[in-house]
Homo-oligomer: 204 residues x 3
Amino acid sequence: MSLLYFIDLFGTAIFAISGVLLAGRLRMDPFGVMVLASVTAIGGGTIRDMMLGATPVFWIGDTSYIWVIIITSLITMLIVRRPKRVAWYLLPVCDAIGLAAFVGIGVEKALTYQDSHLIAVMMGVLTGCGGGILRDILAREIPMVLRSEVYATACMAGGSMHVGLLMLGLSSTSAMLGGIAVTLSIRLAAIRWHLSLPTFALNR
Amino acid sequence: MSLLYFIDLFGTAIFAISGVLLAGRLRMDPFGVMVLASVTAIGGGTIRDMMLGATPVFWIGDTSYIWVIIITSLITMLIVRRPKRVAWYLLPVCDAIGLAAFVGIGVEKALTYQDSHLIAVMMGVLTGCGGGILRDILAREIPMVLRSEVYATACMAGGSMHVGLLMLGLSSTSAMLGGIAVTLSIRLAAIRWHLSLPTFALNR
Amino acid sequence: MSLLYFIDLFGTAIFAISGVLLAGRLRMDPFGVMVLASVTAIGGGTIRDMMLGATPVFWIGDTSYIWVIIITSLITMLIVRRPKRVAWYLLPVCDAIGLAAFVGIGVEKALTYQDSHLIAVMMGVLTGCGGGILRDILAREIPMVLRSEVYATACMAGGSMHVGLLMLGLSSTSAMLGGIAVTLSIRLAAIRWHLSLPTFALNR
């Protein structure tokens, strides 16, 4: 379980970086950069906890998340102008790892607060996608998660596998690992082959 | 009271449809459509419950709301391209029915958690208008509810009638029905005669 | 402490005015004006309370805040067209006073719900800046707080001074006054000499 905690903090750092990069395109001041990084990294889990009534929300009880965001944001602002030194092409892959962990953690947490498997899958998707949606709202963009890429769809598949394995009687840890594997595989496949679902378009 | 529950689910379905139709104009993928439908249908009540401390929020305890949203969204995506088969002009009328029920439910729920009639009216308006405001934020539009149409104003009038009748000593059910009748009448009149309040405009 | 309560209501009124003025530029109807005024004035503290689990949120238990917003909004809409009678240039100074009080109140409230000083500073910044961020999201603007001006930075400095003085053993009231003085001084200096931090800009 301490491996999962490590992956959770790793995902927090990766999501924070994606917030910093968007803030840089919008010419924010250093504080604005921190806000956008925080919203991206812990926004989904925060909404989840407020809906479940799991308050104070998770990062109030364990400030490691905030320190990870602060340190990651500072480092990213310092090194981001030297693109040759950093393997930026690894970012989507790291994002997929963090996303898969966030979904698993969201499903698990939802099941400790209520019994419905349907709600658990929703909370997993919210934990994974909520931060990115809030980031795009703050940056005044229509959330990309909603428009294309097999992103939320991957979360939904992984969350469904997670609760499906629980219903089959697998242990909590095995079920979570199965769910994480599904989210991660679909997301990596979508990145590699540029998969996306057909969009639903109306001209009205 | 089971009639009110039915109207509540009916309003949830109608609000979900309005989310699906906006998602279609924005060319969202099927998951994005579901998110926008959910936010529109249960967003207002969710914020109300989080502010009141009524957690877990209402749709976590009763998943009927989520199933109504999922099924309504799927059906809408399937039939929306055949406009001749569907009486779309009924949508604003159905929306008015759902809105009136949402306001009544919001006022009633607020009064079970605290005593202020002022707060109860605010929570009624929030339950009715919150989802539409969140929908428009996600779609990157300035919420129409805030700009024109006698929409929120109808909610405020209905909510005030509801608490006014309670203060006059009427039963909880009678007061709610009176409030719902006011919200519905004003909203239908606004649709029929294109009523809107004068806007407050500054050139600074 | 009753002076602080008075300053809190004063800040609520000032923040409501800033919401009304933005609503006027967007040509909202009277209800939309009220919503934008409320979101600006009590939005930050509302999110703080929901995250801490301090529900029902503060303005549900004490409706003075709502009455201040309603009355301030009505008066502002009536007199705003007579610019010669009103000293509008005082608005940023009043805003700085309200902001400084909000940060102090946010830090103090956070410390009654949990122990971390880091979280307390974050909650102070959120209380001061959250309402303005929500206002700008509703008005479809990238939050100015995040882009320029030494605004959130002033909150962070004041909140840090507040918890620093507490750690040095000062009384709760003295520490809060010290923090408020720092936020106010930095903010007034930024207004007087047009200070702003360098922005973090990327061309990617």
